[in-house]
């Protein structure tokens, strides 16, 4: 198993190199650092000196790929590509265009993100799977029919309406929790409650419907008929036999998302003023801080690849037929 994981991690390297080449092309080749400097400093009335100063402060005055002026290895390392793209492999994110230490920001801001993402993920999964099994229990009755109708309507509503509606109803009208903000310690609870609830409700329709389809595909298999023929109650059949066998397709979608929980949710965090990585990314996009966006792209890809590896490992846990080759 360790050999397998090592091999998978080695496979990840060319992919991350690919990601780096894509972001490098997007950020430095499509538009030159000069263009970026001009936009940052305001397009009109910008002097060449100001552009040069902006680039020097951020280290963007180096050549893109090959530095003829530098000696020895410096020809390759003293370039924008090496300093801003290759260094990411060591998780050295450098400084943002505003001069902040990105690595430090990421380490401090991931906790609020996790404080929302983990409860949403765990409680949500439990709730969705249970609800889907209940609709299966009542399959082909009006409960099932209206349940599916409710799911389709819920998944047709933009996530922003859940947030705006939740803030209006629960915070403004009923005054149960503050509209937005964040605090550390036990005080955080009242700030986190609404984002978590909104997050769970927002994902309800799509997930329940998906899981319901997965369960229904299992429900007419022979082993389920055998279980019923043995005289097991329908609840037991569903919650034990069907659930266990439907775990594989469920895991495919779920496990890959676990590492990405670190990144937080962009919209939720921004709406509720949670100082997590999601709102960090949005702020970076709005202030056109490309260094942060680059770092987040790299971080997101790394987490996604870890998620893929975790997915494969989780298969062996739920399905003894799957073995590492």
């Amino acid at each position: 198993m360790i050999a397998y994981i090592t091999r998978r991690l080695l496979y990840a390297i060319p992919i991350l190199i690919g990601v780096n080449v894509i972001t490098f092309t997007l950020f430095f080749v499509v538009n030159s650092p000069d263009d970026m400097a001009r936009v940052q400093l305001g397009v009109k009335r910008v002097t060449p000196e100001a552009v040069q100063k902006w680039k020097e402060e951020r280290g963007y005055d180096r050549p893109l790929l090959y530095n003829e002026a530098a000696a020895g290895a410096g020809a390759l390392t003293d370039t924008i590509f090496f300093r801003n793209s290759v260094r990411l492999f060591a998780f050295d994110f450098g400084r943002s265009d505003q001069g902040r230490n990105i690595g430090f920001d990421v380490r401090t801001r991931m906790w609020p993100s996790l404080a929302i993402a983990i409860p949403v993920f765990l409680v949500g999964l439990l709730l969705y799977v249970t609800s889907a099994l209940i609709t299966c229990l009542f399959r082909a009755t009006y409960v099932d029919f209206w349940g599916v109708v409710a799911c389709v309507v819920m998944m047709s509503i933009s996530s922003m309406f859940y947030i705006i509606g939740g803030q209006y109803l629960i915070s403004k009208l009923w005054g149960l929790v503050p509209i937005s903000g964040y605090d550390i310690g036990p005080n955080a609870l009242k700030f986190l409650a609404l984002p978590v609830v909104v997050g769970i409700v927002g994902g309800f329709g799509e997930s329940v419907r998906l899981y319901r389809t997965l369960f229904l595909e299992e429900i007419n298999r022979d082993y389920v008929k055998t279980a019923r023929a043995k005289g097991l109650s329908e609840t037991r059949v569903l919650f034990r036999h069907v659930l266990q066998n439907a775990m594989i397709p469920i895991l495919t979608g779920v496990v890959v998302a676990i590492p990405l929980l670190f990144m937080g949710s962009l919209v939720t965090e921004a709406f509720f003023g949670i100082p997590g990585l999601g709102s960090y990314t949005i702020d970076a996009i709005n202030s056109q801080d490309f260094a942060i966006v680059r770092a987040m792209v790299f971080l997101g890809s790394v987490l996604y690849i870890i998620g893929l590896i975790l997915t494969d490992i989780s298969y062996t846990m739920v399905d003894p037929r799957v073995r590492f080759e």
């Binding site: 509503i157 922003m160 997101g300 996604y304």
Partner: protein, 478 residues
């Protein structure tokens, strides 16, 4: 009045798409095996109701995709054209676009939303709600006339709607009766009892509901701001109708752009295997490992820089907005082709081992021909299902992107833009709810009908689903 046709990139593409759909329609009609699943879609009542609603959106979107520049004046036999680009829809909407209030006003209001200092004719100044410039301006005494006037216009609207509905229903029955043996009257009965193969009753009921809501709105919109006005006095109904085109374009053009990549790469990876497969798999794993929101954000940021630097390349603001919309679709397409590509690759891997493809190979048919004639037609059901499922996801994604600040151009009306500017108004006291409510209703209607239609298409085309369904116990089927 002379005018100059202004063909925007997205206009050209949407009409290209329309032509493609028409060509496909013609092709499918002539081939029974292709038409069979579509007949199944046509038998689905909820799918057909959803399609009726979608037709309404598509018609508005297409009318809004024919742009022209009207001539302002004639000089020496040559026309001088306005800088402002209008669409056919703008012309049809007429007053909706031009009749602006100054600031917020509630739906159907005759007075402004907040008190202001007004100077009376005798020189005295009072704080009161000023009358609106257009909304209910024809009323002499709004306090007494407003209610009856609204009721009267609603009645006219409903009557007009009923008339249209009757004409459509009669035409439909006449056309249906011509194909069969029954006469129009008997056909009417058959439709009404739900005995026709295609659920025309569901379509007619949907149409009736739409006309019952739409008729009064049309009747009222001439003299009132039916859904209120926003901060700068723009009619909210007009904004919502204009947003339809943006949503439609993002939902369809993105798919149009990604399909060639996904089909070609997917079919090639599955058919050739080996090196080609490795290269294509590497490409899509790399692309899909970047979180799509970040990829889109990064690309849009770069495009913004490009637009700001090359601002002189765009003659009008609408051209700039159109360029941005086009690239947004392109980027969304690049970010989303990987899922479909993976599905097609899997299917092509299975197909290449089948006898008829082995036979084609043995006859010496070229690889390119096998992919074009045997692989691609046999993965089309996956393509179709993905395309219709993607549509609603893309319409929803537009709203999120607008909030993040990487959506369509701010001058272009879109549901995301409406939500984005309306969400702050919820904090006002008393709250301004109509912008948000309008965006909510239109978006829900569009996405919901797209979802229902997608379900109907999937039920008809997915071989797995048709295999699963009959296996359900017969007694439990409702």
């Amino acid at each position: 009045m002379p005018f100059k046709l202004e063909i925007l990139w997205t206009d050209a593409l949407i009409y290209l798409l329309l032509a493609l759909v028409a060509a496909l329609w013609w092709h499918i009609r002539r081939h029974e095996h292709l038409a069979a699943p579509w007949r199944k879609v046509a038998r689905n009542a909820s799918g057909m109701s959803a399609a009726t609603v979608l037709v309404f959106f598509v018609v508005i979107g297409l009318a809004d995709s024919l742009h022209y520049r009207p001539a302002i004046e004639m000089r020496d036999g040559k026309a001088i054209y306005a800088v402002e680009v209008l669409s056919v829809f703008d012309t049809l909407a007429g007053g909706l676009r031009a009749q602006k209030a100054t600031t917020y006003s509630a739906p159907l209001a005759t007075h402004r939303y907040s008190r202001e200092l007004i100077e009376l004719p005798d020189g005295r100044q009072v704080r009161d709600y000023p009358r609106l410039k257009y909304g209910g301006a024809h009323l002499k005494d709004p306090d007494t006339e407003w209610g009856p006037d609204i009721a009267r216009r609603c009645l006219y609207g409903i009557a007009g709607g009923a008339l249209i509905w009757l004409v459509v229903a009669a035409l439909l029955c006449a056309v249906l009766a011509r194909g069969g043996t029954a006469d129009t009257g008997r056909m009417w009965g058959a439709v009404w009892r739900g005995e026709t193969e295609v659920p025309w009753r569901a379509v007619l009921v949907t149409l009736a509901v739409m006309l019952a809501v739409g008729g009064p709105i049309v009747a009222l919109s001439g003299k009132y701001h039916v859904l209120g006005t926003d901060k700068v006095g723009q009619d909210v109904l007009y904004q919502a109708l204009k947003s339809i085109r943006t949503g439609l374009l993002i939902g369809t053009l993105t798919t149009l752009i990604m399909l060639p990549f996904a089909i070609l790469f997917g079919a090639m990876a599955g058919y050739f295997k080996g090196r080609v497969d490795d290269a294509i798999q590497y490409l899509y794993t790399t692309l899909s490992s970047i979180p799509s929101v970040l990829l889109i954000a990064a690309a849009v940021l770069m495009m913004q820089v490009y637009i700001e630097i090359h601002v002189d390349r765009f003659e009008t603001t609408i051209q700039r907005a159109d360029f941005r919309l086009f690239w947004l679709c392109f980027i969304l397409g690049v970010a989303s082709w990987t899922g479909l590509c993976r599905l097609i690759r899997g299917e092509a891997l299975k197909l290449r081992e089948l006898e008829y493809i082995q036979a084609a190979k043995a006859f010496g048919v070229s690889d390119f021909r096998i992919i074009a004639r045997h692989i691609v037609p046999n993965v089309m059901h996956i393509v179709l299902i993905t395309a219709v499922l993607n549509f609603s996801a893309l319409v929803l994604a537009e709203a999120v992107l607008a909030y993040i600040g990487v959506g369509v151009d701010p001058t272009m009306m879109s549901f995301g833009g409406m939500i984005n500017s309306a969400r702050l108004e919820m904090a006002r006291e008393p709250i301004v709810w109509w912008s948000l409510a309008t965006a909510f209703c239109f978006m829900l209607l569009m996405v919901l009908s797209a979802n229902l239609f997608a379900d109907a298409v999937r039920d008809a085309f997915d071989p797995r689903i048709s295999a699963v369904k009959p296996a359900r116990p017969a007694a439990q089927t409702p």
